[in-house]
């Protein structure tokens, strides 16, 4: 607990929090990129509200605007228009205050391959204000949490994909963030590693951390998420609990059996599929 106390001790005065208790809130969030052919509208007015303690899934096809939204919410990308708040703190106005509240693990585990796992975690903890001593202790705790104690003093370049993901996850937790943003945390992992990450995410969530995760794996969303939203072409096209979204589709299309989340996703994104003898034949836009 000493290290946690130290984080609190070193925190600057509390930022101005507005609104209600939503962990993450976005209103009419827009991101435009200039391009040679004009303006690319990556996100076109997204409204989100994620309550504290939720695991929220953000789904969508490649290029739909998932990562762009996450990057705006995590202060890594400027916001063209609209408002985003994390823990009630305005992302654009008080980015440093937001950074203290969030943990971030983006697509392609962003790690320094020349450091050891332990060095990386100690450095990350120090950047969040822990003393060298407290950072070392925190790193040890996190290495145990993600089961990387044996590999702790090996250079990261020798880690497997699953180990890198788990280390990335640990590095996002050094300061015990209120909200954890994970951009496709299990992409590229084998099924066993994926299950391990899911288990870790559940444990982290049980401790009270809100989790915002993007994924392309519908099973992952179904297994983990309390609520989810589907984004397509920069716009939210569905939002709700997995059960509610399935029930809505069943009711609307008068389906005889319970649809899967795949069906919800395909319906929401305007894609279709034909099944032949139970196998997926084709998915087309």
């Amino acid at each position: 607990m000493d290290d946690v106390a130290e984080v609190v001790e070193r925190k600057p005065p509390a930022p101005e929090r507005t609104g209600t208790s939503a962990a993450v809130q976005a209103e009419a969030l827009v991101k435009h990129y200039p391009s040679k052919t004009g303006v690319i509208e990556a996100v076109r007015g997204v409204d989100l509200r994620i309550e504290a303690g939720e695991i929220f899934g953000f789904l969508g096809p490649n290029g739909a605007g998932k990562s762009t939204t996450v990057r705006m919410l995590t202060t890594l990308l400027s916001i063209t228009s609209g408002v985003a708040r994390v823990g009630g703190v305005d992302v654009a106005r008080e980015p440093d205050a937001v950074r203290r509240l969030i943990g971030v693990a983006l697509q392609e585990a962003g790690l320094d391959p020349r450091q050891t796992g332990r060095e990386l975690l100690v450095l990350q903890a120090q950047l969040f204000g822990l003393s060298a001593h407290a950072a070392t202790a925190r790193a040890q705790d996190l290495l145990a949490l993600v089961e990387l104690e044996e590999a702790a003093d090996r250079r990261i370049k020798g880690y497997s994909g699953g180990m890198k993901r788990r280390l990335d996850l640990a590095s996002a937790l050094v300061h015990e963030p209120d909200v954890l943003f994970l951009d496709e945390p299990t992409t590229g992992l084998d099924p066993a590693s994926r299950l391990t990450v899911w288990e870790e995410l559940r444990r982290i969530n049980e401790r009270g951390t809100t989790i915002f995760l993007t994924t392309q794996y519908l099973e992952e969303a179904d297994q983990l998420c309390d609520r989810l939203a589907i984004i397509d072409n920069g716009l939210l096209v569905r939002e709700g609990t997995p059960a509610r979204l399935k029930a809505e589709l069943r009711e609307r299309l008068s389906l005889a059996s319970e649809p899967t989340l795949d069906d919800v996703y395909l319906d929401a994104t305007g894609r279709t599929r034909s099944r032949v003898a139970g196998e997926v034949q084709e998915v087309s836009a």
Partner: protein
């Protein structure tokens, strides 16, 4: 500042663990020193060449090698690796001041440059070059070289942050060669042709080279030394400001 040092230590570890990136910064400047001396030493015998102040031509050429060693800017290439690998975003997502993200690498670069400059000067001493300005001159010689390394890596970091491309950053490093050769590299400024003399006068690297050369060949001649420090002070402040501005607007 302590956070900048934390990041600086990480950058030093990175350099130490990549000797293949560090060794050319030692080897190539020494190679140029040997080759340049080999080609021109007979033209400028120390006994009859006033601008050598009694030393060999190697002493006159040593500043070129020091400046070359300080202008590799490998830290900027490591920065591109951080950007491409996603680690730079990890650092940007921490609440440290943006200035610290820039300063970390610059501090590490200055430490590396002190080490490299010291080794090169010591090799020069072994081969008969002396630092005429004494121990203080030695410190100023190494210090000025290290400060130039910080300025130049600041310039290369700008390219890295703007382009996010290793190829573009690497190419940016080549800018130093025209700057180096538009200086009184082989002879003092007054012996250059008129167009070259004009070009050298407008080239800030000239004042660095003359300051370093003065420290090696003469006693402490402040009128020669201070312009060199003024160049790194002005360009250093400019590079730091531009780097911080770039990183604040980095999307």
């Amino acid at each position: 500042m302590s956070l900048a040092w934390v990041l600086g230590k990480r950058a030093l570890r990175e350099g130490w663990r990549t000797p293949e990136a560090l060794l050319p910064t030692l080897f190539i400047p020494l190679f140029f020193l040997v080759v340049n001396v080999g080609q021109a030493a007979k033209i400028f015998p120390s006994s009859s060449t006033a601008f050598l102040h009694g030393q060999g031509y190697g002493a006159f050429q040593l500043p070129s090698s020091l400046l070359l060693a300080a202008s590799f800017g490998t830290a900027a290439l490591f920065l591109v690796e951080d950007i491409e690998g996603g680690y730079f975003d990890k650092l940007r997502a921490t609440p440290v001041p943006r200035t610290v993200l820039v300063l970390g690498r610059l501090i590490a670069e200055s430490v590396k440059a002190v080490f490299i400059a010291t080794v090169i000067v010591l090799v020069g001493l072994i081969f008969g070059i002396s630092v005429a300005s004494g121990p203080l001159g030695f410190v100023l010689l190494v210090g000025l070289t290290a400060l130039w390394a910080v300025v130049y890596v600041g310039f290369m970091q700008l390219i890295a942050l703007k382009t996010r491309s290793a190829a573009a950053t690497n190419s940016g490093g080549l800018v130093f060669f025209p700057l180096l050769f538009l200086t009184p590299n082989f002879v003092p400024r007054h012996l250059l042709t008129r167009p070259m003399e004009i070009a050298a006068t407008f080239n800030p690297v000239t004042y660095l080279m003359e300051a370093l050369r003065s420290l090696i060949l003469q006693d402490l001649v402040w009128s020669r030394i201070l312009p060199g420090f003024a160049v790194v002070a002005v360009l250093g402040a400019l590079m730091l400001a531009l780097n911080v501005r770039m990183i604040r607007h980095y999307d």
